[in-house]
């Protein structure tokens, strides 16, 4: 008799003792096994990720800003960042009381940058989730159904991929076709202009997963579309888009900055892009108010860079083609 290969023997799921008289496995245990497997692969990814110095640096910086955004209301003296209540000196360079100086309203630039992290990160994360949802549904639908549906959906995806995103964003932002609140419309704009890349990736991966034997088998056993997609396609497609999703956060935050700079940013609140725009409009360049526009830009670079570093570290783990042979 041939021996069972080592790696199978060591698999706890397979070598678990089978007790006599046990009933057929209940569906629950299948899910448990799947979760155990996922947990194990996750911890494997984490082990590799931890070895990447760049990835860890990125994670630490990102964690810092997320923490900052969550605790901002408690660490910022709120009256200091609203024009009506700010009491600081006007356009004062950095001092002990105002470490990053003040703006034309006497607001604390440090306070604004810290509080601005909330809106910038909120827009970054929600727009990314939105883009991921649109992108994965389009990609899965195109890849799974194929045929004419694929042709149409792929054409739409390619349109959104090549169109000049900023002029498209300006059109949607100024027209506001769904009459959303301004912040909601801004998030929608960014999501709509950035989902196409995800859709392409997901479609390609769906096509390859669809051909695998277990999907065929499941179909032969009479599984419905919904079951096939949620149980077989999705779990195998998602790892491909993790890195892409992480990178998209950077793009969303940069998009916020760009649109805010053009005067389409969130109103009555403060984000990094809004600070940049106000500083530029107030003539900071010619007057030399460097403390006003440098910090928000540095914050943007740090967050976008940290996300990028995490994304590349993930990509090296999940995309073996990039590894050295």
């Amino acid at each position: 008799m041939s021996k069972m290969p080592e790696r199978l023997m060591s698999d706890p799921e397979l070598s678990a003792p089978v007790t006599d008289g046990q009933a057929l496995p209940v569906p629950d245990s299948a899910r448990k096994i799947a979760w155990a497997r996922r947990r194990r692969s996750m911890s494997g990814y984490w082990k590799t990720f931890r070895k990447s110095r760049q990835g860890m640096v990125g994670l630490v910086i990102l964690g810092f800003f997320v923490l900052l955004a969550l605790t901002a209301p408690y660490i910022v003296n709120l009256p200091e960042i609203y024009p009506a209540t700010a009491t600081g000196p006007i356009l004062h360079p950095p001092s002990l009381q105002y470490p990053l100086g003040t703006d034309t309203f006497g607001r604390s630039v440090l306070g604004m940058v810290v509080f601005g992290s909330r809106i910038s990160l909120l827009i970054g994360f929600t727009a990314t989730v939105g883009a991921m949802l649109i992108g994965s549904s389009m990609g899965i639908a195109a890849g799974y159904y194929g045929g004419r549906i694929d042709t149409i959906l792929s054409a739409i995806t390619n349109w959104f991929l090549v169109l000049p995103w900023i002029v498209l964003a300006i059109v949607i932002a100024t027209v506001n076709p769904f009459h959303l609140p301004q912040l909601g419309n801004l998030i929608l704009v960014i999501a709509i202009t950035s989902w196409a890349g995800t859709a392409r990736l997901v479609r390609a991966q769906t096509l390859s997963v669809k051909e695998r034997t277990y999907v065929e088998r499941s179909r032969a056993l009479g599984s419905g579309n919904w079951h096939l997609v949620t149980r077989h396609i999705l779990p195998n497609v998602m790892p491909v888009i993790y890195a892409n999703t992480v990178l998209m956060v950077a793009i969303a935050i940069l998009s916020e900055a760009a649109l805010s700079f053009l005067g389409l940013g969130p109103q009555n609140t403060v984000s990094w892009g809004v600070i940049l725009e106000e500083s530029y409009s107030a003539g900071s360049l010619t007057a030399g108010y460097w403390w006003w526009f440098l910090p928000p830009g540095i914050a943007i670079v740090l967050v976008a860079l940290s996300v990028t570093l995490c994304g590349y570290a993930l990509d090296e783990i999940l995309n073996p083609r990039l590894r050295e042979r």
């Binding site: 002029v167 498209l168 900055a257 360049l285 860079l305």
Partner: protein
């Protein structure tokens, strides 16, 4: 035969994309707004008769399909309406701004591409070398910058502090000889082009690098090395030509993104191009101008993608000779 069919297919696809953009534009500006006339003539005091006349002139009293056909015909004749702000023809306004934008975009893209590809090849071929790790990090840092902010920093450093370059406009007023004018123009171009170059070379470098790393592992590169071909020649004759193909496609795909960056940079540098026009349009909600710029920049991007497809087919024998 194959090449011609490929060309026709791609052209048909480009035209279809253009039709989609036109339709999107029509829906956004004519169908969705509850009162297109009010939107298109915002901030102008009009009598009821004027509005009725305008509705008639714009064809808004016609059924939607008729409106759509009229709209397509008008757009084809480059009749894009009148700017609310200046009252002038939208196409005329855009045409006047084209040279400035084309100069900035073409030079910026050219330098960003050259720098990015050079960095990507040099780093990717010697993966993990000091040059590679530092250039990859630099690429990522510049990629992570807001173009507007980068422009502001460069203005302050090179314009205000060092005083080397002018920080706005694209020429100094006054009389000058042709050579002086050219020098003056180059002087004004330097900082905006530098901003665009720095803002986008990182993306190209990263793409070229990973493309080369993938190709480097391909069997034919091993074959070339086995043949005793020197390392530099293996890179130049075997690895790079193959790694460049996907990079080339992505460079053209990213054209829409660079255009976005150019708009921001024009605003920062008060560069008298389309971006500046768009900025004014946004701040005055000049809808005819906004939709005109959307249409024309989309058309430009679609055109460049078609050009890219055709050029690609010349570079890749798998398409050219099949």
């Amino acid at each position: 035969m194959g090449a011609r069919r490929y060309f026709f297919k791609k052209t048909a696809y480009a035209l279809l994309t253009l039709l989609f953009v036109l339709t999107f534009n029509f829906v956004m500006f004519r169908v969705l707004p509850s009162d297109p006339v009010a939107q298109l003539t915002r901030s102008q005091k009009l009598s009821r008769d004027d509005v009725a006349e305008l509705r008639h002139n714009l064809g808004l009293d016609q059924p939607l399909p008729t409106q759509y056909v009229t709209y397509l015909k008008q757009t084809a004749a480059l009749n894009l309406g009148r700017s609310i702000l200046s009252g002038r023809d939208v196409w005329g306004e855009i045409k006047a701004r084209l040279p400035a934008t084309i100069a900035l975009l073409s030079l910026g893209t050219l330098f960003a591409t050259l720098l990015g590809i050079w960095v990507g090849i040099k780093g990717g071929w010697k993966r993990g070398s000091t040059f590679d790790t530092s250039s990859l990090f630099t690429s990522q840092v510049f990629w992570s910058m807001s173009e507007a902010w980068l422009g502001m920093v460069l203005i302050v450093v090179f314009g205000s502090i060092l005083g080397w370059f002018p920080t706005g406009q694209w020429q100094t007023p006054g009389d000058a000889t042709a050579i002086q004018r050219l020098a003056d123009w180059a002087n004004h171009l330097f900082l905006p082009v530098l901003t665009l170059t720095l803002g986008y070379f990182g993306e190209y470098a990263i793409i070229m690098r990973s493309s080369l790393i993938e190709v480097k592992n391909d069997d034919f590169v091993l074959t070339a090395r086995a043949k005793g071909i020197p390392d530099r020649e293996v890179r130049k004759r075997h690895a790079v030509p193959n790694a460049f193909l996907p990079t080339f496609t992505l460079i053209f795909l990213s054209f829409g993104f660079v255009l976005g960056g150019a708009i921001l940079i024009e605003v920062v540098f008060s560069w008298p191009g389309i971006g500046q026009l768009e900025y004014d349009a946004i701040n005055n909600l000049d809808y005819p101008l906004i939709q005109g710029i959307f249409l024309l920049s989309s058309a430009a991007v679609i055109f460049f993608n078609l050009v890219a497809d055709v050029l690609y087919s010349y570079m890749d024998p798998r398409i050219r000779e099949s």
